[in-house]
Symmetry: C2
Subunit: 367 residues, 2 copies
């Protein structure tokens, strides 16, 4: 497996880097647009973050555009995981894909100095290869995908899981709570993020047996000081900003994310349609343009791009496949913040005592 | 139980009504505002529907405002189920509540002539009392709550279940598909509504075991001509209008509904904030007012008010608790359409052959 690296620039080319440098590897081929989007994003990101270093992974032809960039190394990979490739193809066939070579750089962090990977590739493939190469942290049964959604406080709410796990036990939901808290602390600097359990009512008696039992575990973890637990929250609390972290299973998380994306996109198209319906509406649009632009910026989903794959022995961030350069740069920034603040160590340091303090719920007993 | 009716006007006061009259009973006390909202809504509804008749149920004082209304009878109930009352209170204690008396009028439809009930009261209580009094149809294990959400075609998508059932078997999801189809046919006149199964991907291999098995049942029902099955849909398909009916369990449905409400409300407040931020923005708002009004009307949630409680031996519609008179009138209109087109019979006529045609899934075997 390590033979792949012989094709790329040696990692030791970074040997003289400043001690505070934060090195991130980028799968340049992933996403709907590949290097056309990822390379300009990397350039813009490097220009804004003087302590950042980037390892670009992609085909030789694609990477030629980045020749001579400062704080940037190129590693050649001969294959590309497409957005339609089955997980098995990414895992067993395309062993020299840009995605896999990039993740291997994280695994070999001790020698490569790489702290995090960013890819806009196929989510299922990215999760499978990341899990295979990096493995999960002690105490974590399953990795989770966490993203952020904007809220009324002009901040954002972190939601997990978003589709990695369709069936979750109460223990998994507790692990998600701990991982989500560590993410918010690392990326946003909030010392004690508030966690809510997504349910269909605020009362503790609501929901399925799994949710009720998860509520008990989260309450116990809250009382033991492992997390700060608010209690149950409902779907609208995500946008109210009632809590910093909302925990749910991957099925529910995926549905709520796609429902929100679909609704926001419909409303935005309706606004456009109404402001182009005839000459008077177009005149109104002209007058209202600065206001509409401010509104658009405020809810721009590109600002929230970059989902974290949590619970692995290494940092991996997933960009939306359809991301443009601005959105991909935001994903790079989130990865940079998480890497700068030691997210993996934070999750590890939190999860072990949390699970130990729950005699009724050792991770080993989870199905 | 039938003693309650002795307090009200005799149902026979409608004896001379035209044969095509559609009689609806209204729980005037339900919701956040009670008669202040429900009575004006009933009046506006009656004025627009010359064949409608209404039975108002409420306290004597509340109903006095409707004295002398044409096509309207008043039935007194001495108690009111509050929005905070536990299900047990509504079911066992408040036996003379306006909610219960109204539902009893549906049960006694043969003598009262009432075809449907509309209430803005506590959802849990309404479902429990309706189920207790009316019972479920043959072949239906559990009633479901169905509502509509607007879509890009300026039509709407029916979604069920919305919270009545947190754990669903594949058989329940099949029953929801049949009931949802019957609802769309009765209310919108669509002969063969297209049904989608909510999942986290379009491929049949996605989702939990329950969802996969439900997909098989729905596919078989589609092939047998019992429903028109599209296949899996994702959260964003609700607003795309990919299908007429989206089927999911009550936990997922409740989360997606509340998430959508929360997002829409946040975006609408953001628009308001941006258009009132300083004198220039206010001027722009003035110029853009007709456009903003058209947009607001297009996505006005009040137009979609009125969830159907399906699978019961009688029609019950639930209005949002916070509904104003316009929204409550929309719920009355939906109930009127469903009653006019024999929704209960349609569900019954569809569900029995559908379940019989599935040798692998008799309703009796459902957990």
């Amino acid at each position: 497996m390590s033979a792949e690296f012989s094709k790329g620039a040696p990692a030791s080319s970074f040997a003289g880097a400043a001690p505070k440098a934060v090195r991130i590897v980028v799968d340049c081929m992933g996403g709907d647009h590949g290097p056309v989007v990822t390379l300009p994003a990397c350039r813009a990101f490097l220009d804004k973050h003087p302590q950042a270093e980037i390892v670009l992974v992609g085909t030789e032809a694609a990477l030629s555009a980045a020749a001579g960039w400062d704080r940037c190394t190129r590693v050649v990979a001969t294959e590309v995981v497409t957005m339609d490739d089955a997980v098995e193809v990414a895992l067993r066939k395309k062993r020299d894909s840009s995605m896999r070579v990039a993740l291997q750089q994280v695994k070999d962090g001790a020698s490569t100095g790489v702290l995090a990977c960013v890819s806009a590739g196929n989510t299922g493939a990215l999760m499978a290869v990341a899990r295979y190469l990096l493995k999960t942290l002690d105490g974590i049964d399953r990795p989770a995908i966490a993203t952020v959604l904007p809220n009324r406080h002009d901040g954002y709410t972190t939601v997990l899981d978003l589709g990695a796990n369709v069936d979750c036990t109460p223990e998994h939901l507790l692990q998600f709570a701990v991982m989500g808290s560590a993410l918010v602390t690392a990326v946003d600097g909030k010392a004690e993020p508030l966690v809510g359990l997504l349910n269909i009512g605020e009362e503790a008696i609501k929901g399925s047996d799994t949710i009720k039992r998860a509520g008990e575990l989260l309450r116990a973890a809250g009382e033991a000081g492992q997390i700060r637990f608010h209690g149950n929250v409902e779907g609208n609390d995500i946008f109210k900003g009632t809590v910093d972290v909302v925990v749910c299973d991957g099925f529910v998380g995926n549905v709520l994310l796609k429902t929100s994306e679909g609704l926001a996109s419909m409303l935005s198209d309706f606004i456009k349609q109404e402001f182009t319906r005839g000459p008077l509406a177009k005149l109104a649009a002209l007058v209202a343009l600065p206001v509409l632009k401010r509104f658009k910026h405020r809810v721009d989903p590109r600002r929230y791009n970059g989902a974290a794959l949590l619970g692995l022995r290494g940092l991996v961030f997933k960009s939306h496949g359809s991301a443009d350069a601005y959105a991909f740069e935001m994903a790079l920034t989130r990865a940079y913040e998480a890497a700068s603040h030691g997210l993996v160590d934070r999750v590890h340091d939190k999860i072990v005592p949390t699970l130990k303090s729950m005699p009724g719920a050792p991770a080993e007993s989870a199905a």
